[in-house]
Amino acid sequence: MQPTDTGHPDHYHRVVDCQWACPAHTDVPEYIRLIAQGRFTDAYLVNRTSNVFPGILGRVCDRPCEPACRRGRVEEKPVAICRLKRVAADHRDEVRAQLPRAAAPNGRRVACIGAGPASLTVANDLLPLGYAVTVFEQHGLSGGLMRTNIPAFRLPAEVLDEEIGAIVEMGADLRLNSPVTSLKALLADGGYDAVFVGSGAPKGKELRLPGRDDSDRIHIGIDWLHAIAFGHTQKVGERVLIIGVGNTAMDCCRSALRLGARTVKVMARKSRQFFKASEWELEDAESEGVEIVVNHAPKAFVIEGGRLTGLRFDVLEYELEDGRIVGERVLREHVEPCDDVILAIGQENAFPWIERDLGIEFDKWQVPKVDPVTFQSTRPGVFFGGDAAFGPKNIIWAVEHGHQAAISIHRHCRGLPVAERPAHAAALASRKMGLHEWSYHNEYNPAPRRLVPHVALGERFKKIKIEVELGFTPEQTALEGDRCLNCDIQTVFSAPLCIECDACIDICPVDCLTITADGTEAELVGRLKAPRRLATEPLYVSAPLKQTGRVMVKDEDLCVHCGLCAERCPTAAWDMQKSTVKIPHACDDEPTCQLPSQRQTA
């Protein structure tokens, strides 16, 4: 095989699977090590560079990093990455002085529509470049769905205030209660050099069934949560049915319990393996006593004497093939009595305020055509990001869209082509300190995943704003941090140094390494010391070795970064080196974005 090109910036990045999976490419193992050292502020700042809202995300992130975490390969559960992030945010010192600062005005003006995470990220990235950023928000509070829909028992207002406040105080012109009602007018009269649309996907999906319009006790989930967040809705009936089983449904059912409901049932059309909600949200809801009822398809609202008394369902049975539904059959009908019904079956984009003659093209579902790399619409200078761009996603995607849109806006305003993007880069630095000393904690700790303590069930329903999760204790933090395999401390091989003594091959606890005659990929796979589990995991193949011309092959799959190969290598042909992936942001290299320590040396 061709020797592997380890110089490509993605090569070592792909080993750091959590960071690779994070839309914003947060340097997870680096901040976990900092947390383990008690350096919470530094850990927070590493986070903030990539994901802007560590305190928020440390509570409610969708955590694509966790299913990717390599700990989940050698053991059942991944590292509790998200919960560790919260530890950094909760225990850090005051950081405002270390955050990016606004630069002297560069004379350019940018309008952001909506004060959700996408727009706020754009502001965060452009203010240090001297842009005047105006954020228009229709509601009286900032934060978007993070504020209006994610319930306070998962995400307290103070956390939002603190992290949004840091951006606003940098100098964003936040205009609350200022809906943009015409983009045309904004473009014509505003004098903006660029416009970023971060207005979200604000429309909850309808369920058109008989009786829908005959009661005021049938609610659209996201509107209902919104009304709770703003204090407009303070109670609910005794028996509440939630239709749908995504994450919105989970917030609705748990909110219903806090507004006084006695029985709350989540009615799902399909069976559990098809649920959209994250496993942990389902667990949290069920542990609070919510019942999840499967295979019930809603058919009609039952209205008696002008009052909603129940919901009629078809009870279904599915025919499955290879885990896919190939047929369904109605077993019977069932009427579930209830006082309120909450519809939580999805969200859509809606842009009634964008005129269709502005050169901004929409597809047949009225979704704007947005470039997935530059986030520019078909009208140069108008960008979309967050849920507004490609439909509902999550906060961390909104942040990443914001970063990319900020890069585009900065290029657009300087007359540079937006399609040309700054490149990722990678750097390696040895972690060898002395003969048997490595500057990272490389001992494998077999401890299972820690569970976050929760407020007692009886306590947590007393007020809607009581945050349920308490965060890790110091002991839990230490153990959980230890579970991280340090995937960014890479095994780096130098073929000319190897004397083929086999020491690394013999010591590797998970049999990652093989020295064998070169061959095709299939031949090498057949000769690996331990069978390959994942065909998707590319093999590392070295240049020919000096003494025999054979090659060193590594199957990265199960490597636990214990460093034993490097430790047992007599010639340092294997070395453990920290790989740092440089993820470009709009304000890189600006003195305003550097830490005070960096500013002095610059």
Binding site: E75, P446, C501, D502, A503, V560, R568
Partner: protein, 352 residues
């Protein structure tokens, strides 16, 4: 010495042997040898060999003397019996243990210093007595543990790390064993597990004394330019005469070779070793020819490796020759083992 502990986790799909054990379960304590020492590779080969034979750990007895090589018995099969003898005295301990209990599988691991310098007499008599054991010499041409003095296996002209050449002729354990009538004599290299593992397995199954001289470079004191026991030199001057495949009792011989190319030797327990001659004229059953072949190849600057000589050793094996009881002494009832003063008196009377 390595400060990191080898974690307990293992690849989930490691193959299991007849006892349901993986290779990892045949490991021992963490090695304290220098990183890159050939001896560690031999240890890994022994682990692999024991696993492949589905040996129960308590069936194994590990014996050694003094030296880096002799330390290695601690690094494999932690559940086995073991005895660490004084310098050069492992063969007599092995002989005694074997005399007392013939049911165990005896594996002695020693060094060129331990076996060919201080312990040469002991080794010679163990071979002569045909003790049923596998005797592995981890041969690096130096006393590694005492910082690299030449041992009795150092070749004439080989250079020490400081540049001095050796002038005294070496003892070649393979030639020695052939001279003394050993019935299983092999040579291999720590860097070639494909060759070494089947040899170890065959040696453990051989009835009688089995000697394997394993070239096992001392990475710290004898891996430099000018050394004839370095990794690079060994690889260049390595001449495999015979390839051996070990075939466990239950398994069938998978590939058929043309007549003349391969010979199958059946071991005492029914397992077989298939020998493939890489040199067509070579006959591993002919002791005299083997001796001659090694000498001639050495004159050409080559070390012959592989299963150099194999013959039936069961007739002259220690227990057969001495007509000892088949029952291990720890299972012979005390009254029979020590019949008392009256019985002794009777015996003595026969010599009056």
């Amino acid at each position: 010495m390595t400060s990191i502990v080898k974690p307990r986790i293992a690849h989930p799909a490691l193959p299991k042997n007849e006892l349901g054990l993986t290779r990892r379960q045949y490991e021992g304590a963490m090695s304290t040898l220098c990183a890159g020492c050939g001896h560690d590779s031999v240890t890994a080969a022994i682990v692999e060999a024991c696993w492949g034979l589905s040996l129960r750990p308590e069936q194994l007895a590990k014996l050694s003397g003094i030296g880096c090589s002799s330390k290695t018995t601690a690094y494999f099969v932690s559940g086995a019996h073991g005895f660490n003898a004084v310098h050069g005295r492992m063969p007599s301990i092995a002989t005694g243990a074997n005399a007392a209990n013939r049911e165990l599988c005896y594996v002695g691991v020693s060094g060129d210093g331990d076996s060919l310098s201080i312990g040469l007499g002991q080794l010679a008599h163990a071979i002569r007595r045909n003790v049923n054991m596998l005797y592995v010499i981890e041969n690096n041409g130096v006393y590694g543990l005492t910082k690299g003095q030449f041992s009795a296996s150092a070749d004439v002209g080989t250079k020490s790390k400081r540049g001095e050449a050796n002038t005294q002729p070496p003892v070649d354990p393979v030639l020695l064993a052939l001279t003394l009538g050993a019935t299983f004599v092999a040579r291999s290299f720590s860097g070639d597990k494909r060759q070494l593992v089947p040899l170890l397995q065959a040696g453990m199954r051989h009835q009688g004394f089995a000697l394997i001289d394993v070239l096992s470079p001392c990475v710290t004191f004898n891996d430099h330019e000018g050394s004839t026991k370095s990794y690079a030199f060994t690889r260049e001057h390595y001449h495999a005469a015979v390839e051996a495949d070990f075939i466990a009792r239950a398994r069938e011989i998978a590939v058929d070779y043309a007549e003349g190319e391969s010979t199958v030797v059946t071991m005492h327990d029914g397992s077989r070793v298939r020998l493939r001659k890489l040199d067509p004229g070579y006959d591993p059953s002919d002791r005299v020819a083997a001796y001659d072949y090694i000498e001639r190849k050495f004159a050409d600057g080559e070390y012959v490796t592989g299963l150099i000589h194999v013959a039936d050793g069961s007739a002259s094996e220690l227990h057969a020759a001495n007509r000892t009881t088949a029952t291990p002494l720890n299972r012979v009832p005390y009254e029979r083992l020590s019949p008392g003063a009256a019985a002794l008196g009777k015996l003595m009377a026969r010599y009056r």
